[in-house]
């Protein structure tokens, strides 16, 4: 009888043990994100680099990875016809609440994976950015859609805005993913947010985040610091280098005759 009671006590523990096992396994399945390298050094020979974004704990069929700088404002000049004949810069246009750099990688087109409402809510994709952006300009009868389209085109030409599929590789067996991306050299130094969204049946089921830094090192950092912090000295050095180089080469080519 005592033995039966003991067995019964152990049986009562089974659901608790099962729940604990589920919790632990659930913890292990959480989506992770790792960026390699986490810091990109901008040195003299820098021409962009390869960045690998990887992680595990993926329990979904699709993935969206987006990398962006914090939203800010950008002042640009807009072109138009002056006097109905000549194309030229006519005035200033300020785009507010837009990131300077915005790169999106996904397993399928983002609009196929998520509804426009979800995209807007989570700020995923160009269309979501357009909805949140604000334009200020001296241009009369501003066509918002047209100029936002122009803005996206302008940023894509600069290689700092991108929507791309086919870069992410998913291994369902190990629940892992990898994406090797070309980090553009046009992206200015700064800190970027990396966000990974796991998508299942049109819904975001998990999310992971990481940071990516892009910073000047060595000579690049020294010159940039001097140009902004000691501009007089920087200007004098620029002149001395130019004059010495000019006269130096002149000396090398001395065989010119004359006096």
């Amino acid at each position: 009888m005592t033995q039966l009671k003991r067995i019964f006590r152990y049986i009562k523990l089974v659901p608790v043990i099962f729940a604990l096992a589920m919790f632990i396994s659930g913890q292990a399945m959480a989506l992770t994100c790792k960026v390699t390298p986490g810091t990109i050094p901008i040195s003299l020979g820098y021409h962009g680099t390869k960045v690998t974004i990887s992680g595990d704990g993926l329990d979904a069929n699709d993935l969206i990875i987006q990398i962006h700088s914090p939203p800010g404002e950008e002042h640009l000049k807009y072109k138009g016809k002056a006097g109905g004949i000549f194309w030229m810069k006519l005035g200033t246009m300020t785009f507010e609440n837009v990131p300077g750099v915005y790169l999106v990688y996904s397993t399928q087109d983002t609009h196929k994976l998520l509804s426009p409402e979800t995209c807007k809510e989570l700020s995923i994709g160009f269309d979501a950015l357009k909805k949140k952006a604000v334009i200020k300009s001296d241009l009369k009868d501003l066509d918002r859609d047209r100029w936002l389209k122009e803005y996206m085109k302008f940023k894509e030409e600069e290689h700092v805005y991108l929507e791309k599929t086919g870069v992410i590789k998913i291994d369902p067996a190990s629940h892992a993913y990898t994406a090797e991306i070309d980090w553009p050299f046009e992206a200015p130094p700064g800190e970027y947010n990396v966000e990974v969204f796991a998508i299942q049946n049109g819904k975001v089921v998990d999310k992971a985040e990481a940071k990516l830094k892009d910073m000047r090192v060595g000579v690049e950092e020294l010159l940039s610091h001097m140009a902004f912090e000691k501009p007089a000295l920087y200007g004098i050095i620029a002149l001395v280098v130019a004059i010495v180089a000019g006269f130096g080469v002149g000396m090398v080519f001395k065989g010119g005759g004359g006096h």
Partner: protein, 316 residues
């Protein structure tokens, strides 16, 4: 091989930039122009922001013009007296032009004025130089086949034409410019310097392509002295511009300037040596063709719809 530019915040091919410097330096040594009207748009085409392109160009012109001035000085082609007078006028005119632009920017329409001044000045200067040199080359051929009596008649005609500039010779402060072999009132080069300085400031260039025709056609200086003297004057103008741009706007990219001047200083030397082998009118006609080509490119840029309707501020 790529180099990252710390102020332009972009990466460029080392050989491409050195090559651009070489090309523009060659023109500088050949014609005595700084090449700003050519280099700034070229730099913008390879992705350099307009403000950085214009400021850094001024910095590399310091090197190319220093190299060219030294080469021409050795050849005895620099009229320092005339150069200094033009420089005084140029500095004054530059300051005036900067003020004019400031007022226009406040009232709007500055970009329109800049573009129009550019097209009109380049077009007029280019066309004038082209036809004038073409006529001169034709005349040389005709002179070669002229009889002695015909040559005498032509010389008398030339002297009568020279006597017409009596108004200019009536101006005070007349002085002889030994190196150029001309006599002018000091007011003339200073006044012309002011005129070119104002236009150069409005257009955002050193003004070499304007100063060269002024020296040839209005100051009647010999072509080879014009080139050396123009480079001497450009060197000082660009020293001032480089320092002000670095100090006030932080737009001088020293790495880009070094790459450009690697090419331009060598190009300027080659250009100087090449210039010695070409005749004055051949040089003028070549410069006129380049100026006209840039004008045509600018006109096309004005009338054809651009692929992008947004742009960064600054530049032309």
């Amino acid at each position: 091989m790529y180099i990252y530019l710390p102020i332009a915040l972009t990466s460029v091919s080392l050989w491409l930039v050195v090559g651009l410097g070489l090309l523009v330096g060659l023109l500088s040594g050949l014609f005595g122009v700084g090449g700003g009207f050519l280099m700034t748009p070229l730099l913008m085409m390879i992705g350099i922001p307009p403000t950085v392109a214009a400021a850094t160009d001024a910095n590399q012109i310091v090197a190319a013009s220093a190299s060219g001035t030294l080469a021409h000085w050795r050849l005895g082609n620099v009229d320092f007296k005339m150069g200094l007078m033009l420089l005084v006028g140029g500095f004054t005119g530059g300051a005036l032009g900067v003020h004019v632009i400031k007022v226009l920017r406040a009232t709007g329409g500055a970009d329109f004025l800049i573009k129009m001044t550019y097209v009109i000045m380049l077009g007029v200067v280019g066309a004038f130089m082209f036809f004038e040199s073409l006529n001169a080359l034709k005349k040389q051929k005709a002179t070669a086949s002229m009889s002695e009596a015909e040559l005498k008649a032509a010389e008398e005609k030339k002297q009568a034409k020279a006597a017409k500039k009596g108004m200019l010779s009536a101006l005070p402060f007349q002085m002889y410019f030994e190196k150029s072999g001309v006599t002018h009132s000091a007011i003339l080069p200073i006044g012309l310097g002011i005129f070119v300085g104002v236009l150069a400031a409005i257009m955002g260039v050193g003004g070499g392509f304007l100063m060269v025709p002024v020296m040839i056609y209005l100051l009647r200086m010999p072509m080879h002295v014009v080139v050396g003297t123009s480079l001497f004057q450009i060197m000082f103008t660009c020293v001032e511009v480089t320092f002000l741009q670095a100090y006030q706007n932080h737009t001088v990219d020293i790495v880009l300037a070094i790459l450009l001047l690697l090419g331009s200083t060598i190009g300027a030397q080659i250009g100087t040596k090449l210039g010695k082998k070409l005749k004055g009118d051949q040089l003028k006609i070549l410069l006129a063709i380049i100026v006209l080509a840039v004008t045509v490119k600018m006109i096309l840029g004005l009338i054809l719809e651009p692929s992008l309707l947004l742009a960064h501020g600054g530049g032309h």
